[in-house]
Symmetry: C3
Subunit: 100 residues, 3 copies
Amino acid sequence: MHTVSMRLITIVAEPVLADRLTHDIQRHGATGWTLTEGRGSGSRGTHAEEVPGSAVRLECVATEEACARILGELAERYFPFYGVVAWVMPVDVVRGDKFV
Amino acid sequence: MHTVSMRLITIVAEPVLADRLTHDIQRHGATGWTLTEGRGSGSRGTHAEEVPGSAVRLECVATEEACARILGELAERYFPFYGVVAWVMPVDVVRGDKFV
Amino acid sequence: MHTVSMRLITIVAEPVLADRLTHDIQRHGATGWTLTEGRGSGSRGTHAEEVPGSAVRLECVATEEACARILGELAERYFPFYGVVAWVMPVDVVRGDKFV
């Protein structure tokens, strides 16, 4: 099975950001996304630990360049102001053309 | 902590495929699976972008061989006809015997 | 974009364990977690395959050391008694200071 190396970026954020984030990641070159709802807890600002609250978990497979652009926007426009975390990892996909 | 290297395969698909996909992956050697419901958007066929719709997110830890068989079946029987994407990544697990 | 290498640990468990597991992972050094609800099936004990049941999917980004401690506790206190699986993978994050 021929596979192609891509990146998976996962973003966990306050639910109010869901539509804005899906728009952003598509603008940066992601061709699709998956969103699940849950709850979470994390450190933010001066709070060592927050009370658990609702959270959306957004993930998309994209090129390394697209993921870097998405991380850049998160770091600039979201991380200082919102409860948002993100991580990136390499993944293998079968149809690489679906993601560029 | 002794860990064993396995593969994690994640499949995002139309909800109508959920039962068929869980059956398929077990037939190919996966011993378990986790399914969460959400929504998603992705390219399919000639459509550059689809309207977001419901989606199921199915994941399982399996051997590299089982994941290859699952990807092969997805590529042959699902990708041409359905809104399905999948990705694979290496993971470390503690009890490798649970997944074979 | 400067990134830092961390670990992502994912735990799938019976819903009754959710609060105990989130407490455990924070005690071992994880600063946050995300929980989604779904359903799953897996092998446990002498049963080759269980009927699908509700499941919680808990994930957190943490240091390699914290993940090792979490896996150690899972192996000792949960794996022998509960339907629990877990896997660990390397991830890249932007703000490494959020996770230590």
